[in-house]
Symmetry: C2
Subunit: 309 residues, 2 copies
């Protein structure tokens, strides 16, 4: 990867991220609109930064298929709203019970638990309100197919199902027996969680961008493989950076993550980095049929692998 | 309302309710499919009975516009899934903290709080997966418009916004100030809650059925008014039946509901019944432009007013 290309993908991320930020700002209800507390919480959780990976992948995939960023921007915003809703619910006391995210109080700490649940629900609904707007210029047929793709990726076969597997894997007890817990070692279990919990929405983001832009079947197949492998690699590096960050902050090996169903817990830091590198290679190889149109997505995959935050 | 008509609407409700029950059974993931606990919880919450009012209104509205029940069945199921998800989240400890619903343990009592949150989220996603299936025979354009109608009705301008107003109205305290709480008496506040919390989805159900079936603008306008007024009357009678039921069960005036933002608390039982009767008259009057095609919806409105459970 040449340094010129690095500049290109960095500039692309900055430009498209800014486009998404502006569109999210416009799509969210104004903070002074009643009920204010709800709208304030929605804005707090969505506009507080973030890499905008999923929406940028919608845009990049659309552009690789000859589409324009503007035409897919509502769907790009929608996948970010869905991501934000999932984090709010994941952080709840009954789930991961997290007090901070990105160095700020989580939604339920800042606004109370009831408002946090409803803020997630409102973002979920707003996402589909955005996806289904027919003014996007992609046509109703394509828009409907993309909407269905995303809805399928965030349900029991995807994001929510993965979150349930994650909860089961943490060894929490449930009133009912949990025959859904896969039998086997953590090394078998962890990929199953993260394919659903993280990779499914990232894969759907890539696919939706292509679907909205009329990507051919072979292109769509290539982008599906790319999306799933990049999505899984992204989660692995996230977990690795958590461990490395904890080690730096604590000045010792971070043991708290060992109990969680993460790649570093299952494969160690070095082993996890190797898996992520292999997945990235596979993702890039899958882009073959796109030729030059895949250059940006290829560079993006490499950038995500070597990122340090 | 003649007794012959009573039989007709009763038979219609039974037949269409059965159609919806069968379609819901088929749409929900099998209970033995992993993660089983999630799928068991989804089925427990959706298949445990219920009047199927919202889906039947989708079907009845579609039929009033010349559509077939089969073509709108996925959307009919979707609004029931959304209704079920909203009840699960409403019942959570951080919200209404209800242990029972329809005489059975609520979702979080039966399956734990984390699974209950995720069950609601999964039903929400499944609803949009159903709505956006393009095989419904209504065409992509109409399907997309109906999907957007429903997404708009369950967000901050509708169901979720109403639930937030309800929480604010119960005088719960929030970390942030609540300037969203309307100033004025409970009599001014209660209708604002219920128009959003209950009537918005019922109105959207009626409108979606018409939109999917190519209802003319004048018909759609008539059905919108009908849907909102029937939706509000439905909530009022629900609250009245709660009070009457409590009085019967306790053998005395039920005081516990007085603190809640309900129509009986604001207007008394007799006053609430009068308001519901007036709204029903208005709903029926709004059906004027439909002529004979509105007969079933008219009888349905009357039946909902005089129901005893």
């Amino acid at each position: 990867m040449s340094s010129v290309t690095d500049v290109d993908v960095g500039a692309y991320l900055a430009a498209r991220g800014g486009l998404v930020d502006d569109a999210l700002e416009a799509a969210l209800p104004a903070a002074d609109r009643p009920p204010q507390i709800l709208h304030q919480a929605m804005r707090y959780c969505v506009l507080g930064g973030g890499k905008r990976l999923r929406p940028v992948l919608v845009l990049a995939s659309a552009e690789a298929c000859g589409g324009t960023p503007q035409a897919v921007l509502p769907v790009a915003c929608a996948v970010e709203l869905i991501h934000a809703y999932s984090l709010i619910h994941d952080d709840l006391p009954a789930m991961d019970d997290s007090d901070t995210r990105h160095g700020r109080p989580t939604c339920h700490i800042a606004f109370g638990e009831a408002i946090a649940i409803l803020t997630g629900d409102a973002l979920h609904a707003l996402a589909f309100h955005l996806i289904t707007q027919s003014s996007s210029g992609c046509g109703a047929e394509r828009t409907l197919v993309a909407a269905r793709e995303i809805a399928g990726a965030i349900g029991t076969e995807g994001m929510v199902g993965g979150q349930v597997l994650d909860l089961l894997g943490e060894g929490r007890t449930f009133p009912a027996p949990s025959p859904g817990l896969p039998v086997g070692s953590i090394a078998e279990f962890v990929p199953q969680i993260h394919v659903r919990k993280t990779a499914a929405l990232i894969r759907a983001s890539v696919r939706a961008g292509a679907m909205l832009s009329g990507g051919e079947p072979a292109t769509l197949e290539a982008l599906s493989a790319y999306g799933e492998q990049v999505g899984l690699a992204y989660q692995i590096i996230d977990d690795v950076l958590d461990v490395v960050g904890d080690e730096r902050a604590l000045g010792k090996h971070a043991g708290s993550d060992a109990a969680k169903a993460t790649y570093p817990a299952a494969f160690g830091v070095a082993g996890s980095r190797e898996i992520a590198a292999r997945l990235t290679d596979e993702a890039v190889a899958a882009l073959g049929p796109l030729g030059d149109r895949g250059a940006l997505l290829r560079d993006l995959a490499h950038l995500l692998l070597v990122r340090e935050r």
